[in-house]
Symmetry: C2
Subunit: 178 residues, 2 copies
């Protein structure tokens, strides 16, 4: 897939609107992917992202021990597979195989990119002090990729119980906001 590097100063524009994402990790040559909606930008540049990965998730210990992951952003075409990844555990299945997702090598971390997604943020954990109490990790995005052919990616935004808002039209207003 055509991928181009995205300036780190632009990363907030991908995550600020709250899309469901696929979080990938890898340990000992085995990759996993989980569905995640609980994340927020915390700083523009270098981009910091806070996210909740429950200690019930297979990913929790992998993220804690490797300190690396990739945030992949899917669009509505992948919705069924996104829900599939959210309803299964990497303890039981290889989700890449099960849901026909393609791992592609990242440049700075061991965790793979999910080829089918339109954007990818390679991250390392920079603060895990809130992991014990809140399952909260602070990530720094160290490399970002985007598929430039996707002008209006229809991201999906989970509102619970399998219901998603689909990004519709956009509006542009005069603003001094970044």
């Amino acid at each position: 897939m055509a991928r181009k590097s995205l300036a780190l100063s632009e990363v907030y524009r991908l995550l600020e609107p709250g899309p469901v994402v696929l979080l990938t990790t890898a340990r000992k040559g085995r990759a996993n992917v989980m569905t995640m909606s609980w994340h927020t930008m915390m700083e523009f540049e270098p981009p910091l992202v806070g996210c909740v990965v429950s200690n019930r998730n297979f990913t929790f210990n992998i993220l804690k021990s490797t300190g690396e992951c990739v945030i992949n952003i899917p669009t509505v075409e992948l919705a069924v597979r996104v829900v599939g990844c959210g309803n299964t555990s990497g303890r039981d299945v290889d989700k890449f195989q099960t849901f026909h997702l393609t791992p592609a090598p990242a440049s700075r971390v061991q965790a793979p990119l999910v080829e089918e997604c339109y954007a990818h943020l390679e991250c390392r954990v920079v603060d895990a002090r809130m992991a014990a109490k809140y399952n909260f990790f602070i990530l720094e995005v160290i490399k970002a990729w985007i598929n430039p052919s996707r002008k209006h990616p229809r991201t999906i935004h989970h509102t619970g119980r399998g219901v998603f808002l689909v990004a519709g039209k956009t509006i542009k207003l005069r603003s001094k906001m970044k």
Copy 2:
């Protein structure tokens, strides 16, 4: 406006999709409102919300000293006023007056509800230990309100520089996810 109480266990469904929100605070009888996009759910029940309020914002010190706020969720009809609130400071103007927003009394906190919004979450700060380093506050939602007549609220999701995704159609998939 018709408002009904919303079960705290349902609060995540409002914030998980990443809408822009209006955060209200009050001190010494003076209310303020700021525009915020950097927030995430952190726990289902009691609902915990993590959010970034920059120390450059007038709200920062008020939130820190009062430990109270209201998260109000606007829809696309309010977009111009939301951007207005994001481009001005409560140091300089009374934003309720300037942008024709109506403060209404909350039940558990001093900060007001913004009448024009379709949902309101009364919050108290439960952890400010990350405020110094990351401008990050953890809020507990102690009372939630929703306008039951709004079946498909078209929330807005900021992607930077005044561009917003507008929530479009919804899709529902079979899911075990909460």
